[in-house]
Subunit: 283 residues, 2 copies
């Protein structure tokens, strides 16, 4: 397994793979890898000839009052996990090379970035789009892998690939990986106190409450949201940031579920913001 | 010469050229081709194996009160000129395919877009960056050609190529082509009335006044700008939009010229906005 920090070196290696007609899979991460990331890596390993895992805590996707500085990092452990998973290259670019002096170009989703998490995190998806497009240009992957936990991110990146005419790239959204008690894996779970951690599976229980009602035939969003709010009220440390049922094209709230809907929520436990979601119905 | 309107067809042809190791040159235009465009095409023809001229009046780079609808178009004449110039492909994408339903992704220069023309044309460079990046993704050129008349555009696109890690693409800025009386060629010159056209070379005369002073040793921007204003005052139909001497990294006004400076101006004749510029000194 190679560790590459130099952008030009990564570009050159990817160019050689492309020239040889070999397929490339990219798993973009901010490191502190967990079983969710490893499921993406496993899929990339199965699909492609060369697997690149990028590890870069991207400063432009954090707001000024967010957790960029304290975001958990453990590069040695990440490398060991990648090695075990059969990764070919761990790409760890330096921030000063990703965003050099006079850096000025940003990519944004005009409308989708204003929905769901975008309202609480202005600028977040602009940072995500920018860094992911840079990584696509550098690594030139044929396949790229993302977790469904960041469902809005995936929808925006799919839109980016379509709207900017990225050719020959397939995006894969992989299922959310959870702890035994239902909590979705996240690098940010380490921020939780013991009591917060105990209460955190309430996100999952709220989603399951909505799913049960849906399975029983309920299609009114208000009824599902009520059931979710009742569930969330059981956890006294949970402060809801948002709780929405939206369509999967515009991410706009729907009153009645027709076709596919995304049920998404963000909940604060203290300073820690957790998200989770579930898809209902078919496209 | 091929005429291609379908984006997928253009992507596939460009992919074949790349796979065969053949070089590709792109001249992005809004059509209504003049000798300025033809100088770019000539250079592309000399440099590369395959020359693509894109013709697309890009709606996203026009403001709501600008001239998108009346922008001059003559596709038959453009095709004939391209044929004569030895162009391989005229790429004429349809707006509905470039900006499909739910189009949402834009590329912008955060700071550079606020300078010079960006102040009078909010959103203009966002539209330019977006469409040019799309064209780069579709045509995958090794070389791309632009005229110095749009000096700010070139600086922004160079920054875009660097900041978004576009690999293997060389940008070429070609000299401004002028009428015998000094007026820089522009598709918009057709908007000018006979009297406006008679007065329009005042832009060039103002730039030459600055150049003469600079050649004589003057380095104070205020002195050069004064000389330019005196020249512009000779043309009673000329309404100055801006007149600036800026550095060529940040496009910020300089008081004293050290190294390279861009002298740039935009002048209205009635509703018609003309731009011109000159570079002084060395980088």
């Amino acid at each position: 397994m190679k560790i590459i920090s130099d952008i030009e070196e990564m570009i050159e290696l990817a160019r050689q793979w492309r020239a040889a007609g070999e397929s490339v899979g990219l798993v973009p991460t901010m490191g502190y890898l967990h079983a969710g990331h490893l499921s993406l890596i496993r899929q990339a390993r199965a699909d492609t000839g060369h697997v690149v895992v990028s590890i870069f805590v991207n400063p432009t996707q954090f707001g000024p009052n967010e957790d960029f500085l304290r975001y958990p990092r453990d590069l040695d452990e990440d490398k060991a996990l990648c090695e075990q998973a059969g990764v070919d290259v761990v790409f760890t670019p330096r921030a000063a090379e990703m965003y050099p002096e006079n850096y000025d170009i940003y990519v944004e989703a005009a409308d989708l970035s204003r929905r769901l998490c975008g309202r609480s995190r202005p600028g977040h998806f602009r940072g995500v789009c920018t860094v992911v497009l840079k990584l696509w240009h550098i690594v030139q992957p044929h396949h790229a892998y993302f977790g469904q936990k960041d469902a809005q991110q995936f929808l925006i990146l799919e839109r980016m690939a379509r709207d900017l005419n990225i050719a020959g790239l397939v995006l894969h959204q992989m299922p959310i990986i959870r702890e035994a008690d239902g909590l979705a894996l996240s690098s940010r779970n380490v921020y939780l106190s013991a009591e917060e951690r105990r209460q955190a599976p309430v996100l999952r229980r709220a989603l399951l409450a909505a799913e049960r009602l849906y399975a029983a035939g309920e299609r009114q969003a208000a009824a599902l949201l009520d059931a979710m709010r009742q569930e969330l009220a059981q956890a006294d440390l949970a402060m809801v940031d948002y709780l929405e049922i939206v369509d999967t094209v515009y991410l706009k709230p729907v009153a009645e579920i027709k076709g596919q809907a995304l049920v998404a929520l963000a909940v604060y436990f203290g300073r820690t913001r957790l998200i989770d979601n579930i898809l209902l119905g078919e496209k």
